[in-house]
């Protein structure tokens, strides 16, 4: 009956269609929840008026119809292309932003394997050998849309935004790459599915237990990669009007917006796969795998449980993204650069060196060694910070007291 589905190519095609549809819905509701959460944090109510065409009288479903209304509004708005923009690039930029964000999630292993009839399918659109490199490459392509948009807009604010985005990406790619390299070295795998399998209960611990600092670094760089606060210098509405999207309106603006949220989802899924055991639920790999989430479980129900587990983990990270956005003020540009070059890069390189040593000695799965090296790194960082005795804010700590009489 479902034999036409038993081909991995067909299965992947169907899966990707389902994923795109699901992803777009998720993004729409992410925006809704972002508005809700920001409202709650500011002691407001958030969108709560748009129900479903008033079909249910005065009950508005807490404004759950809002994303649909927002989408319709974006489509119906006037799409302005300013006179002196570089038209082809101006149109291309939001598309690139969006497409690049969307193709990232093809390598995410959503739910292990699925026994369909007598064939085993990967619940993953593609499982290339270089899955991890692919997602890194695609992820950093995201800035391409931003830069093109800023450049093509022929507007100095957009240009500033684009330049900032470029510098930021260049700086944050490095610690991100190194933090990922630590996982790659420790697990000896570039396939994301295999990295998950390595963390399944019984097989090994979740990587976050072994490499908490790398996890933290990856999380921080992910904020920067997705252009989210406190790293949203490319938009910075207080300084740059809207940054790279100043000149964009209507659906083109929406595409930048959607791209950012898709990027967030993909990034969160990625970090879950790398550090939190992906679809697996065994509580840091300490306990046995939760029933239905083991490697050998390939039934439909287990696939659904696995997807659900990953979805919950992703949702947690998205919540974290939002919480941080409404908590932290934006970095100043020099602070941003200092954090990357003087903070994250040395720390991640230090961890990399220790991990390489561990792999050479065959200790890559040893909790003692890994945790020991992480603690050593943190201690070293703290030591340097204390010794340097300089404020990280970069302000002058020891400004000379003014002795000259002022005025006169």
């Amino acid at each position: 009956m479902l034999s036409w589905l038993q081909n991995q190519v067909v299965f992947s095609a169907v899966l990707s269609l389902v994923l795109i549809a699901g992803m777009m819905t998720c993004v729409a509701y992410c925006i809704y929840f972002e508005r809700k959460i920001s409202a709650w944090i500011q002691d407001r109510q958030g969108p709560n008026r748009v129900g479903f065409l008033g079909l249910f009288g005065n009950f508005h479903f807490w404004g759950l119809g809002q994303p649909i209304a927002d989408g319709a509004k974006f489509f119906l708005k006037e799409d302005i292309i300013p006179a002196r923009v570089d038209k082809p690039l101006f149109i291309l930029a939001p598309a690139i932003s969006m497409i690049v964000a969307l193709i990232g999630f093809v390598v995410i292993p959503w739910g292990g394997s699925y026994m369909l009839g007598d064939t085993i399918m990967n619940v993953q659109v593609a499982n290339p050998d270089v899955g991890l490199l692919y997602i890194l490459g695609v992820g950093s392509m995201g800035v391409y849309g931003v830069v093109l948009g800023g450049w093509a807009s022929n507007n100095k604010y957009s240009m500033y935004g684009a330049v900032r985005a470029t510098a930021q990406m260049l700086s944050y790619e490095i610690p991100m790459g190194v933090a990922i390299l630590v996982v790659v070295l420790a697990s000896g795998q570039l396939r994301l599915e295999e990295i998950v399998l390595g963390q399944v209960g019984g097989n090994g611990l979740w990587n976050i237990v072994l490499h908490p600092v790398s996890f933290l670094i990856l999380l921080i760089t992910l904020f920067a990669e997705t252009n989210r606060a406190p790293f949203d210098l490319a938009e910075a509405e207080q300084e740059l009007v809207g940054g790279f999207h100043t000149e964009y309106s209507s659906m083109k603006f929406a595409m930048f917006f959607l791209g950012e949220y898709v990027h967030m989802i993909t990034g969160s899924a990625f970090i879950c796969v790398l550090f939190l055991g992906g679809w697996e639920l065994s509580f840091f790999g300490i306990g046995p795998a939760f029933p239905g989430t083991g490697i050998e479980d390939v039934g439909l129900i287990s696939v659904i449980i696995k997807i659900g587990v990953l979805a919950v983990k992703v949702a947690f990270f998205i919540f974290l993204f939002m919480l941080v956005r409404w908590t932290l003020p934006r970095f100043r540009f020099d602070q941003l650069m200092r954090l990357a070059w003087k903070g994250l890069i040395p720390v991640s390189l230090g961890i990399l060196v220790l991990t390489v040593m561990g792999v050479y000695m065959g200790w890559q799965r040893s909790v003692l060694f890994n945790l020991g090296s992480e603690i050593a790194i943190v201690a070293a960082t703290l030591g340097v910070v204390i010794l340097a005795n300089k404020p990280v804010t970069g302000r002058q700590d020891n400004m000379p007291v003014v002795t000259q009489p002022l005025g006169g």
């Binding site: 709650w40 002691d43 109510q45 919480l323 908590t327 404020p391 700590d397 007291v401 003014v402 009489p405």
Partner: protein, 213 residues
């Protein structure tokens, strides 16, 4: 001139080593936002269903034209309000009054509510307290024309708001033969006594001086 003594040097607060890593401060901030997210009461008011209590009773909102105790329009078309209005948004057409007790009455009385600055000068100017500002602020219209309130509408506003905000001096416009005659005479007496008691010079003071005060 700024002297040295006036200069206050503020030192940046010292950060501990943990603070310099930002992480403790981020945790502190997240604690605050989480607290607001889950535990703090919401301060917004669900507007059309729920209205906020006005902080003052003399809030200056949409106008109304009062009715006298005989349910006629209290205005005597003296044009005081139109003259006083700084926004020139009152337009009155006077006509001979059909009633015995007064000479004129407004045949037409329009206020452009969009042009009005809600200063309340009209209310101050009116000698018979016929025009008053109410505490209503949520009036809507789909065109500018709709927001020009005519006599009927203004009287209507009175009918709707008289229970919330009774007319300030309801009896003073009880003209001879109508309303509360007794009270009217008392008021009249009081007024006359007040005028008598005044110093002679003061009564001659011009209107401008009065306004400046």
């Amino acid at each position: 001139m700024i002297s040295d003594a006036d200069i206050i040097l503020i030192k940046e607060p010292k950060l501990s080593a943990a603070d310099k890593l930002y992480l403790t401060q981020i945790a502190e901030g997240v604690k605050v936002t989480l607290n607001h997210l889950f535990f703090k009461p919401k301060v917004t008011v669900q507007y059309p269903e729920e209205k906020r209590k006005l902080r003052v009773d003399n809030y200056r909102g949409v106008h109304r034209l009062n009715r006298d105790p005989d349910d006629r329009v209290a205005c005597v078309a003296c044009f005081m309000c139109e003259t006083a209005c700084p926004a020139h948004c009152i337009h009155i057409v006077a006509a001979e009054s059909p009633w015995e007790d007064r000479e004129k009455y407004p045949q037409q009385f329009d206020i452009d509510e969009l042009r009005c600055i809600y200063c309340g000068m009209c209310e101050e100017a009116c000698p018979v307290d016929a025009i008053e500002l109410t505490t209503e602020y949520d009036m809507v219209g789909q065109s500018r024309d709709e927001m020009i309130f005519d006599k009927e509408k203004l009287l209507n506003v009175y009918d709707q708001t008289k229970d919330i905000k009774p007319r300030k001096n309801p009896k003073i416009s009880g003209y001879q033969g109508t309303g509360d005659r007794e009270k009217y005479d008392q008021l009249r007496e009081r007024l006359e006594k007040m005028i008598e008691e005044r110093e002679p010079g003061e009564s001659k003071s011009t209107g401008t001086e009065g306004n400046v005060q």
